[in-house]
């Protein structure tokens, strides 16, 4: 590589806010009280919360310094597989910051919030069109919450039909949260293995599908970044026994505008607005995980439902079969605004985004296939999966290479997931990156593989440039320190 983008600069150490605190220091002038004080009963008072006392500049510098230790999608390529860390266009932020949205109150009367309701209604319509689903709810707070909502809908459907079922089929290439969502609905997970080429076979599904099985949870494209080509046939097998097909749409970034899940046998799908639709994520949210369903499941969606009449938009509370609310108020509204802005500004370009995301992943797969061991040698979708098999003779692991990548100025990819690939390295470049950046990333990995052979200790002690070096993950897990 020519000139590495990562270097060390001036990095500030920064103490905790409590350590910077000084008695009486304050960020604003509190007006002097102009009413007589009236002591409260002693049983009603305590010492007050332990808050640090700081000036405005103390706080500004504190968080600015901390932010300089960070690596985000605004600082460089962030190829974290299955997370779809795409760039978040700044126009989304501009739209979400409009006072009409930021000051909207979820309990305001309908006639005062028509604009916000119109946005939500339109977003439901757009997501329905993208997924090929008949009805959409925006309530779920994130992906796993969307899964739970979807599974509750499936549970309610079977209950309404008079016979609850006890099991759910989950392939080994599904997302790890799938069994948890199913368990919360009381379903026992029946795990099945993907076939030799990394995708699910209809035979494996047919062998376990019966009339006591509520359905299947299938991630498509799956966590190996492969398209489940037998999806239609698998859906037919599940439907023939009265089951439903849950589609985990976390990997929707590979197929927007190309595949409508509702048209290939999927009955319920969740979307991650914070992945596919470019709203910021990482650091724990807020996310947004709307679900779309086919028409026969629409009555079970969370209430209230939004509806459009000739008098405008209104909330429908009369939903006798609903599973109830999944979140207070109307979902993470600020995230909904960002996703809507993304969809409207991209328009038909959404399809091109998916095409480029898939092209970029396949380009990386092709360029690195002689450097890293490829898990499955076939065309991938939006992410490609390698392993550390080639580096094992040098006692260099996936973790070592991931850490070393930081010294080259890139965020590491996802490591040790999916579990079906030992020492997995899952790279998802997204459509964001230019060919020049991707070439730099590829070259970095090639350089690192060379270092693995020649100077393995360089990798085993990496990273060297970031402020925080190799973390002691074992001590962190065995002796966690949870105090501030």
């Amino acid at each position: 590589m020519t000139t590495p983008t990562a270097t060390t600069g001036l990095i500030f150490n920064e103490p905790l806010l409590w350590e910077k605190s000084r008695d009486g220091r304050c960020g604003l002038s509190i007006p002097t009280s102009d009413v007589p004080s009236s002591p409260l009963d002693a049983t009603l008072t305590t010492g007050g919360p332990n808050l640090p006392q700081l000036s405005e500049v103390d706080v500004t510098r504190h968080y600015t310094r901390l932010s300089q230790w960070n690596f985000g999608v605004d600082s460089g390529m962030y190829p974290l597989g299955s997370c779809t860390m795409k760039y978040n266009p700044k126009t989304n932020e501009v739209q979400a910051a409009r006072p009409g949205f930021t000051t909207a109150h979820p309990m305001a009367a309908e006639q005062l919030t028509q604009g916000a309701m119109e946005l939500m209604y339109n977003l439901e319509q757009d997501l329905g069109e993208i997924t090929g689903m008949d009805a959409v709810t925006l309530q779920p707070a994130a992906g796993a919450h969307g899964e739970l909502t979807g599974m509750l809908v499936i549970h309610a459907f079977h209950a309404k039909n008079g016979k609850q079922r006890s099991k759910i089929i989950i392939p080994d290439t599904a997302h790890g949260t799938n069994p948890a969502s199913a368990s919360l609905c009381g379903y026992e997970s029946i795990n099945i293995k993907s076939g030799e080429n990394g995708i699910l076979t209809p035979e494996a599904v047919a062998a376990v599908m019966d009339e006591d099985t509520a359905g299947i949870m299938i991630t498509n494209p799956n966590t190996l970044g492969l398209f489940e080509e037998n999806i239609q046939e698998i859906a037919d097998i599940v439907h023939a026994k009265g089951g439903l097909v849950y589609g985990d749409g976390a990997n929707m970034n590979a197929i927007m505008g190309i595949v409508q899940p509702g048209k290939i046998g999927i009955d319920v799908i969740h979307l991650n607005l914070h992945k596919t639709f470019s709203t910021p994520h990482g650091g724990g949210g807020p996310g947004s995980g709307p679900i779309g369903v086919v028409s026969k499941l629409a009555p079970f969606l969370p209430s209230p439902r939004i509806s459009k009449t000739d008098k405008g938009y209104s909330w429908q509370f009369d939903c006798p079969d609903t599973i109830g609310r999944m979140l207070t108020f109307h979902g993470h509204f600020g995230i909904l605004v960002r996703a809507y802005a993304y969809i409207r500004t991209m328009g038909k370009g959404l399809k091109l985004a998916s095409q480029l995301a898939v092209l970029n992943a396949n380009y990386i797969k092709a360029e690195l296939r002689d450097t890293l061991a490829l898990a499955y040698d076939r065309p991938c979708m939006h992410e490609c999966v390698f392993s550390d098999k080639n580096q094992q003779p040098y006692h260099v692991t996936t973790l070592d290479m991931a850490k070393r990548l930081m010294d080259y100025g890139f965020h590491p990819p996802t490591v040790y997931f999916p579990l079906v690939v030992q020492g997995a390295i899952m790279i998802e470049p997204t459509e964001t990156e230019s060919k020049e950046t991707i070439d730099e990333f590829i070259q970095a990995f090639k350089d690192i593989a060379k270092e693995a052979e020649e100077t393995p200790e360089l990798l085993q002690t990496a990273p060297n440039l970031p402020k925080v070096k190799r973390m002691d993950e074992v001590a962190a897990a065995r002796k966690p320190c949870l105090c501030g």
Partner: protein, 132 residues
């Protein structure tokens, strides 16, 4: 990670495809995970143990081992009732790494059919599964 010929695989225990070992002592069977399993998992940070008196069928999941890489399930080598668990692992899960056949044992069970042990793998057969 260890090469296959570096693994410690004692002759006096039986093995399973899922990388548990079992050792018969009178009518009690001690169960743990193999050197191969602990080596592949890496440094173990937590072991989720079953309760004494829990009963499991053969192949049932009875607990999990968590390393910094992943959480893995442990499966019953044979059906039986738990009579003792290795409480030392609660504070010192690393015993599974440092002493997987001795201080790092997981639990003891009273098997439903003690003769089921015979059907498990001996060292040679287990080595064959590792070589694939």
């Amino acid at each position: 990670m260890k090469e296959i010929n570096e693994l410690n695989l004692p002759e006096d225990v039986k093995y399973t495809d899922d990388h548990e070992w079992v050792k018969m002592d009178g009518d009690i069977v001690t169960i743990g995970i193999t050197d191969y399993a602990q080596d592949q998992l890496g440094e173990i940070v937590f072991v989720e143990l079953p309760e004494v008196e829990d009963s499991f069928g053969q192949g049932d999941e009875f607990g999990t081992v968590e390393s910094v890489k992943a959480v893995s399930e442990m499966y019953m080598p044979l059906a039986g009732e738990v009579v003792e668990v290795n409480a030392a692992l609660e504070d010192a899960p690393e015993l599974v790494n440092t002493s997987c056949y001795d201080q790092g044992w997981i639990m003891k069970i009273k098997p439903q059919n003690p003769s089921d042990v015979e059907a498990l793998l001996d060292k040679a057969a287990y080595l064959d599964t590792l070589r694939g």
